[in-house]
């Protein structure tokens, strides 16, 4: 049943899908006006519109409301019985940087060395990654691609500054067409006091006394401070002279917007102690901070609220850090943070599990988060936190038309995305998984037993 319905729809929209592929190569010539009619529209900028129309023109939302006139020449999609939402925004992935995580040749997510502020995620996003169509079929229209965060290699070294994260649309022939913003945040993995590590020589766990681990931690933080000081001096020099006046350093130059407070740090930390340390550090250093991870953010929620630190939360479907934490602490945490006034978004922190983004949000609702907050935490709030809400996140006139049309609640497990628009172009829902499914659904019964 489900499949048949899909085929019906895909036939109906085949022409439009084709026009996308043609259109992407020659965007200027394609008819780009669509009218989605008779849908229930959740703009997230006001109350839902019961029988609404949404007009897309030249990649943008041209109009949204009840009783709108359909512009002449518009391609009309009757969305009666369907619902329209802003496309979902996954604010933490390695989309396009990592294809098969076990195969090093397909992984470009973490540069070697501790300090790589100059590397930019968008540079290595592979537009043909199979993850992209799979992810957008789940209704995710844009993502943040974060480099370098938290990776480790067998030498035991951990990066500190991983590079610049980029926000991208999940459609386009090239990265240029996909880009929302090339440099959105500087990724920093907050050092932790690590008393246990992996020992290559014995291929097993190695314990370190606490005092030693703490000294290592302090050393790392001191190095970070030195590095930022150098960047600050460099930025000052940049302001007072031309490139001929000093020796250029691309790494320090990349940090200049950070120390000037223009570019936020996206800081990975989970334990309450680490979060507290990172927040206090940024406060003292006058750096803008977005917290990523936040496994124990609920334990420091007052600090986060008072300092106005937004959080990109790791999946709610994660076990608590400590065995004596409440079994549901990561599930109830979003409700707690919302009640405390901490702004947060849900992130998948992954590529192949990115399509669980809605599920993560729904689970938080099951444990007390108001539904509308959950919906905003996968659309508007990530856009706000990452500073691109002028472009995406709600269905408002003038915003980029990243839109999903569904047959139900986009956070629910069984809901299908029926139509997808990215940058105002109807975008195919086809993907590797659907193709393999159709191919092997059509496999004839074997004539000879293989066994």
């Amino acid at each position: 049943m489900k499949r048949l319905k899909w085929i019906e729809l895909s036939v109906a929209s085949a022409a439009a899908a084709c026009s996308f592929f043609l259109g992407a190569s020659a965007q200027a010539q394609t008819p780009t006006t669509y009218a989605l009619t008779h849908a229930k529209i959740f703009t997230l900028a006001g109350a839902p519109i019961e029988d609404g129309t949404l007009v897309i023109r030249d990649g943008k939302i041209a109009a949204v409301g009840p009783n709108l006139e359909v512009p002449s020449g518009a391609q009309v999609i009757d969305a009666k019985g369907l619902q329209i939402y802003p496309g979902l925004f996954d604010p933490l992935t390695q989309m396009g940087l990592s294809e098969i995580s076990a195969v090093n040749a397909t992984v470009d997510s973490s540069e070697t060395g501790a300090y790589n502020p100059d590397v930019v995620a968008a540079t290595a996003v592979f537009p043909s990654s199979e993850h992209i169509p799979v992810t957008r079929a789940a209704g995710i229209t844009e993502v943040l691609v974060a480099p370098g965060s938290g990776g480790f290699d067998f030498s035991g070294s951990r990066g500190v500054i991983g590079g610049q994260a980029s926000a991208i649309h999940l459609a386009g022939w090239t990265i240029n067409e996909m880009l929302i913003k090339r440099s959105v945040a500087m990724v920093l993995t907050w050092p932790t006091i690590q008393t246990a590590s992996f020992d290559v020589a014995t291929f097993s766990r190695k314990d370190k006394p606490f005092t030693e681990a703490k000294q290592d931690y302090e050393k790392q933080v001191n190095e970070l401070t030195d590095y930022l000081d150098r960047a600050r001096h460099y930025a000052q020099a940049m302001g007072h002279g031309g490139p001929s006046d000093f020796q250029r350093d691309v790494k320090l130059e990349a940090l200049a917007p950070v120390v000037r407070g223009q570019l936020p740090l996206l800081i990975f930390a989970d334990r309450a102690r680490d979060i507290r340390n990172a927040v206090e550090y940024c406060d003292k250093q006058k750096l803008r901070m977005i917290l990523a991870g936040g496994g124990e953010a609920y334990k420091v929620k007052d600090l986060l609220r008072s300092k106005g630190i937004p959080v990109i939360l790791r999946p709610t479907l994660t076990l608590p850090e400590e065995e004596d934490d409440a079994y549901d602490s990561l599930l109830t945490q979003p409700a707690e943070l919302a009640a405390a006034g901490v702004k947060f978004a849900f992130g998948s922190f992954d590529n192949s599990f990115a399509r669980r983004l809605g599920q993560q949000a729904a689970n938080a609702v099951a444990y007390g988060l108001p539904y509308e907050e959950a919906l905003k935490a996968v659309t508007l709030y990530p856009a706000q936190i990452l500073g691109v809400s002028d472009q995406v996140g709600t269905l408002e006139t003038g915003k980029v038309a990243n839109i999903i049309v569904t047959n139900g609640d986009p956070l629910e497990l069984t809901t299908d995305v029926k139509f997808l628009f990215i940058k105002g172009q109807q975008t195919s829902l086809d993907n590797r998984h659907l193709r393999l499914y159709e191919k092997y659904s059509n496999r004839p019964k074997p004539t000879t037993g293989a066994n």
Partner: protein
């Protein structure tokens, strides 16, 4: 080799590295652990006014389930509460049979792999069950009542496995599912051939190819068959009164394989690719044993007819993919497609966290492949029960079966459903309201214990070292102000 984000993606870490248990960092118990206490004698319980998803005979609206002596005594719409019965009014709530997780690594003390050899059938997971593993409680809170506890996938033929009930609070001896046939873990593909785990500079372990995996299994079963024959001859001669008959030397490695040949032990085989699936079915046919379940079996959809013809079960993931090459053709339609081709399919966890929402994972097959609500629910109840040979006891809500039940506040095939109670053998092992109401008290107890310990540490400075029990700890260690969180031994050795 660089592994990115494993710190964040523990789930992927499991699938990738379970074979090695790279960083097993167990945290020993603190004070505020949910109370590990066994419920007392099985009470008479009536659950009423619920939507009952029986799995075997449809849905009963406003239904009741009567539980006596740990068994389901009655299922229907107008059951009167017997005297002394505890009555659970479940208006607006849903009751399903306890979830059976066909692939779990919880409750294992230490590493799940004996990775040094390619045939490790000598080891047995039943001997290292840890009833205090907090993940038992967490999975119970996710509605899991039965788990098939397996070794990792480092070996072509791995260790002996055991089916347990999640009887939190009971000693290890009470965990195994009475009468359930034991199993043995096999593994094919990248993990047993060590594709992703070679130690730099280390000597490779045979096998390193899928061809070698086949021959490792064939060689072991060739030996096992000879060994079985040697015993059969000895038994025959000694039964005939031949006093010169000498018993073969007992081989603990081959004993479990003989049990496989005799059909007394199930084979649960970790596999991914279509070719290796057919390989194992071929080898099993050659030696005359059955593959009870193909585990993971992410390319099972490509050879679903062959799997169905061989009578093997398939236990897969909902939507995992791309964490290694052999998972690159994994599709979320796998369970549905195999179901449509006549395979008995279950959805498993392989991971303590994933197990907490297997109901949700099963629901995804409605979206991916169009299974019905009933078919989807079977993937985590009766189907895994069939695969483990325990469907006469669990997996559906029928009179006479074990009262292993889960009560949800919504339709369990929704991301909005939360487990309210989990019962095993008619006893409440998890109760969400009780858990919540006990938190404040536990927190208080934890604080008191920490304060007591700090005080003791101040009086006797040496106590700090003793507590940590680190051999060769430097003398200056006790000077540390920011003392690490108390590690369990100190706490549990005392008050608890």
């Amino acid at each position: 080799m660089k592994i990115s984000w494993t710190l964040f993606s523990t789930r992927r870490c499991t699938a990738m590295l379970c074979a090695l248990a790279l960083l097993a960092l167990p945290r020993t118990s603190g004070a505020a652990t949910p109370p590990a206490r066994a419920p007392e004698a099985a009470p008479v319980i009536l659950i009423q006014n619920a939507t009952i998803l029986t799995v075997s005979h449809g849905t009963i609206e406003h239904g009741s389930v009567l539980i006596k002596d740990g068994k389901i005594a009655e299922v229907g719409t107008s059951i009167k509460a017997p005297k002394d019965a505890q009555v659970f009014d479940a208006a607006g709530q849903y009751v399903i049979p306890g979830i059976v997780d066909c692939h779990s690594h919880i409750a294992v003390d230490g590493s799940v792999n004996e990775g040094s050899i390619s045939v490790s059938s000598i080891v047995n997971i039943a001997e290292v069950l840890n009833p205090d593993d907090i993940n038992i409680y967490r999975d119970l809170a996710g509605g899991v009542t039965v788990a098939n506890v397996l070794h990792g996938s480092a070996n072509s033929i791995g260790g002996q496995t055991v089916v347990i009930k999640l009887r939190w609070g009971q000693p290890a001896a009470k965990l195994p599912f009475e009468g359930a046939l034991p199993g043995i873990k096999f593994a094919l593909g990248e993990n047993p051939k060590r594709s992703n785990f070679s130690i730099p500079g280390g000597t490779p372990r045979y096998p390193t190819t899928r061809m070698g995996v086949e021959e490792t299994i064939r060689a072991a079963f060739t030996e096992a068959r000879d060994y079985q024959q040697a015993w059969a001859e000895y038994d025959k001669r000694s039964a005939a009164g031949d006093k010169n008959a000498v018993a073969p030397r007992r081989d603990l490695r081959l004993d479990p394989l003989v049990e496989v040949l005799q059909g007394k032990r199930y084979v649960h085989a970790h596999c991914y690719r279509e070719d290796e699936i057919l390989m194992l079915l071929r080898v099993a046919k050659e030696f005359g044993f059955k593959v009870r379940t193909l585990q993971h079996v992410l390319e099972g959809y490509k050879v679903a007819d062959e799997i169905a013809a061989a009578g093997a079960g398939a236990s897969t993931f909902s939507d995992w993919w791309a964490y290694k090459v052999e998972a690159y053709d994994a599709i979320p339609y796998n369970a549905a497609l195999m179901t449509h081709r006549g395979v008995i399919v279950s959805v498993n966890s392989d991971d303590a966290e994933e197990a907490t929402h297997l109901n949700q994972e099963a629901a995804k097959t409605i979206k991916y492949g169009g299974l019905t609500h009933d078919e989807a629910l079977k993937l985590v109840t009766i189907n895994p029960a069939i695969q483990l040979g325990i469907d006469n006891r669990v997996g559906s809500i029928d009179v006479g079966k074990d009262a292993d039940l889960v009560i949800y506040n919504h339709d369990p095939l929704s991301a909005y459903a939360v487990v309210q109670k989990t019962l095993i053998d008619g006893r409440v092992y998890f109760d969400r309201q009780r858990d919540i109401s006990e938190r404040a008290g536990l927190e208080k107890e934890k604080k008191a214990l920490i304060a007591k310990e700090k005080k003791a540490g101040e009086k006797k400075p040496d106590a700090t070292i003793e507590m940590g029990k680190r051999p060769g700890a430097k003398p200056d260690e006790k000077k540390s102000e920011d003392k690490p969180k108390p590690q369990g031994d100190a706490v549990t050795g005392g008050a608890l």
